[in-house]
């Protein structure tokens, strides 16, 4: 308090005063230690120090001092007896407080206006402070203490502290903090979240102006003993490196938790209880579970944006080196992809992009203009989900792959035999064979023999696949197909007989029930359905998956219009059950590649539902 005086007045503190303050700090430390160790009593020197401070106050304010407080007096009384003329609550510099906040911590302002009978009701300020410490870190508080009444008028069981303003930092929500004050009447406390932008008029006594350590502790002494003596250093944003295996384990446990929670929520016996408390608790549980699930899920998934952004630089550098103007177009950067995959992707992508720029794009802008293209070569990098996979494409609008040349080179290098019959796709994939290079001149960035086979190996290392498609004169596309090991998809749940399957919603265009006249049968076997102007083949799921069972008429079941790489088709199922976010899990190595099925997902009831691979259904 005396500090406040010095801060607010022009009078310079003498060295004697400073000594007292420092001593005060020492005493506070000792007191706090006592508090921490839960020792009874007050350290020696406490009374002397208190007296010294009081003397200073007396001196500066020139007022008659109330009878000296004894060391055994409780703190509340101490306050009551203190001579302190502070009609209004001293303002606290909120901006300064923000600097002390750790990551995720929010600053709350709590105004306590406790009634006079608060002690009789069994509470006191310190109780609340203590409880508050469980949920938050108190950074500052200011007390509005009225001028002292005469000792005769003083009643120990009457609260005279009108208003207390507490600033505390916490990661919790307002509700959690409000819980501390649950025993108070609503009008007795007010909690508000302080926003960083909100700056109050900075009054002379700001917290930031004096030495923080000294001031902090003095402040503490004057307000609460409970405040823990912990350093409030500005915490920097910190990151943790976690073994992804641990995350996987956590993820599995969360999965179990979700299932257990669903079981609780859907259990008829529990539903029969019909108790508001129980229902509320279960709802709360479900909310928390979802929150945890989402957070854990998001831990592993990161958008591919960063990797893509890195490619801009790669494209720029390569374009400079080979002296070709290049424009890199990014698409689908927000596609989320497993962290481990991102790491594995970076190098192959760099390689492919360099390759596209060096070999794919025509040697000079003049060549491009001759071919009727714009001067600038365009390399498109795109990412998207398809058929339960993540596909990353590097597309260039260059000259394409010369099949003949590739074939000849492969022959020369003994990669293939002269009598091998190769499809176009196989020829294109030759460029990813070890030791393959068609470049006549070795350039700085590619053609050094460390070829695209490195790319293929890297991608296969994360159980992905690389495909090359090219049309001469128009450009080539490298597609990296990555499995979703831990990706979440939005799935449509369909029923077929007594079985449940999941179709990735992304590949579903629509679903409908056809009228009988729109269904056509060709050759007595193949079924087609007319959907507006299109004629779609009907794929019976139970036939494709060899499940057997009944063969209902298409007009008595539901058709799901699905698009895959080869085109559209209508999948015949019994009914649509619902839509749900599911976590794709592989079925294990033993049938990782079962045709028509890309994985499984654990449903709410704990059973496994299979996720259909729409690419393989038709």
């Amino acid at each position: 308090m005396s500090l406040i005086f010095f801060r607010s007045s022009d009078e310079a503190p003498t060295s004697q005063h400073v000594d007292v303050f420092l001593e005060g700090v020492t005493v506070i430390k000792a007191t706090l230690l006592y508090e921490v160790e839960e020792k009874a009593g007050i350290p020696e020197g406490y009374a002397i120090c208190l007296e010294n401070i009081r003397q200073i106050l007396l001196h500066v304010e020139g007022k008659a001092e109330a009878p000296v407080a004894t060391a055994s007096k409780d703190l509340a009384q101490e306050f009551d007896n203190d001579v302190f003329e502070a009609p209004a609550v001293p303002a606290v510099d909120e901006a300064a407080l923000f600097k002390t906040l750790g990551e995720n911590e929010k600053l709350f302002k709590i105004v306590l206006t406790l009634d006079v009978d608060i002690y009789l009701r069994g509470f006191d300020h310190f109780l609340f402070f203590k409880n508050l410490l469980h949920v938050s870190r108190i950074v500052a508080s200011s007390w509005s203490v009225p001028a002292c009444e005469s000792l005769e008028a003083f009643e120990a069981d009457r609260n005279v502290i009108k208003e207390v303003v507490i600033y505390c930092a916490s990661e919790k929500m307002v509700e959690d903090i409000a819980d501390v004050f649950a025993f108070l009447e609503e009008e007795e406390f007010a909690i508000s979240l302080v926003m960083p932008a909100q700056k109050k008029d900075v009054v002379a006594e700001t917290l930031a102006q004096t030495k923080p350590s000294l001031e902090e502790k003095t402040e503490v002494k004057e307000s609460v003993k409970e405040e823990k003596n912990k350093p409030i250093a500005a915490q920097t944003k910190s990151f943790l490196k976690i073994d992804s295996l641990k995350l996987d384990e956590l993820f599995d446990s969360i999965g179990e938790l979700v299932i257990a929670q669903n079981y609780l929520g859907e259990n008829d016996k529990i539903k029969a209880i019909r108790d508001a408390e129980v229902t509320k608790t279960i709802e709360n549980l479900s909310k928390i579970t979802k929150l945890i699930q989402n957070r854990v899920m998001s831990l592993r998934m990161i958008p591919i944006r960063d990797t893509f952004e890195k490619m801009k630089r790669v494209a720029r550098d390569s374009s400079k080196k080979v002296n070709k103007p290049i424009r890199l177009v990014l698409e689908g950067e927000e596609t989320e992809i497993d962290k481990t995959m991102v790491e594995a992707l970076s190098d192959p992508l760099i390689h492919i992009i360099r390759n596209s720029i060096d070999h794919g794009i025509e040697a000079s802008p003049a060549d491009r203009i001759k071919a009727g293209k714009e001067e600038e070569g365009v390399v498109t990098l795109s990412a998207y989900h398809r058929g339960g996979n993540i596909i990353i494409e590097v597309r260039d609008d260059g000259r394409g792959i010369n099949k003949q040349k590739v074939y000849q080179k492969a022959l020369e290098r003994g990669i293939i035999n002269a009598n091998d019959e190769l499809s176009d796709a196989q020829i294109y994939n030759l460029i990813m064979q070890p030791g393959f290079s068609t470049a006549d001149v070795i350039s700085d960035i590619s053609g050094r023999g460390v070829g695209l086979d490195v790319v293929r190996n890297a991608i296969e290392g994360v159980r992905g696949k690389v495909d090359v498609v090219s049309s001469e004169g128009l450009g080539s596309t490298f597609s990296i197909v990555l499995p979703l090991t831990l990706a979440i998809i939005d799935g449509m749940i369909v029923r077929l007989g007594d079985k449940i399957f999941i179709i990735p919603t992304l590949s579903i265009l629509e679903s409908f029930r056809p009228s009988q006249e729109n269904v056509h049968i060709a050759g007595g076997k193949e079924e087609f359905v007319q959907l507006r102007t299109e004629l779609l083949p009907i794929v019976r799921l139970n036939k494709t998956l060899e499940l057997g069972g009944e063969m209902p008429h298409p007009w008595e079941s539901t058709l799901v219009c699905i698009e895959n790489q080869k085109g559209k088709f209508a999948l015949l199922v019994d009914e649509l059950v619902g839509r749900q976010q599911v976590v794709i899990k592989t079925l294990g190595e033993f049938f990782a590649q079962t045709e028509g099925v890309s994985g499984g997902a654990v449903m709410g009831n704990g059973e496994v539902a299979l996720i259909l691979n729409v690419e393989e259904l038709y």
Binding site: D467, F590, F591, T594, G596
Partner: protein, 167 residues
């Protein structure tokens, strides 16, 4: 685990988990057994051999489940009270085996273990690693890799082949 194993070898004993299929007693090395759970619902996977009952959810992990009866050409039966799934770890992968009844964990002395007979068992002897004499019973010790590994691995290889042909 490793320590225990070493100890077991040192005492010249072998510990097996025994279980019943029909009237016959089979054993698997206890160190390969992860856990035993009660029969639970499995989801059939299309286009897989009939002995693969399907997949199940083991605390968030999807693992394959093999019906041992079907594998050994025994008639399939509805799950009974004692029907259990023995979760076994083969080459780091968990696989569930449906058995009629789990019996006990037995210690078998080395001298009581003999090579499999040429004939006599109702099961193809290539799946049987050893025969173990235990009290008045004979326990057929299964070779898990041969049992599940071989056929399945070739299945996986075939699939990979067809895939690379396609690609």
């Amino acid at each position: 685990m490793e320590e225990k194993k070493a100890k077991g070898v040192g005492l010249a004993t072998n510990r097996f988990l025994t279980f019943y299929l029909e009237e016959e007693v089979y054993g698997v090395n206890i160190f390969d057994v992860k856990e035993i759970i009660a029969m639970m619902k499995t989801t059939p996977v299309p286009k897989t051999p009939p002995f693969i009952k399907g997949v199940m959810n083991l605390r968030g992990n999807i693992i394959p489940v093999v019906d041992m009866r079907v594998k050994f050409d025994m008639p399939e039966v509805e799950p009974q009270m004692y029907t259990a799934i023995v979760i076994i770890t083969i080459e780091g992968k968990n696989i569930g085996f449906i058995v009629d009844k789990v019996e006990e964990v037995v210690n078998v002395e080395n001298e009581n273990i003999s090579p499999p007979p040429e004939f006599g068992a109702s099961v193809d002897t290539k799946f049987i690693k050893n025969m173990a004499k235990q009290k008045n019973k004979v326990v057929m010790i299964l070779d898990l890799v041969a049992l599940f590994g071989e056929e399945e691995l070739s299945l996986v290889q075939n699939l990979n082949k067809t895939l690379s042909d396609k690609g």
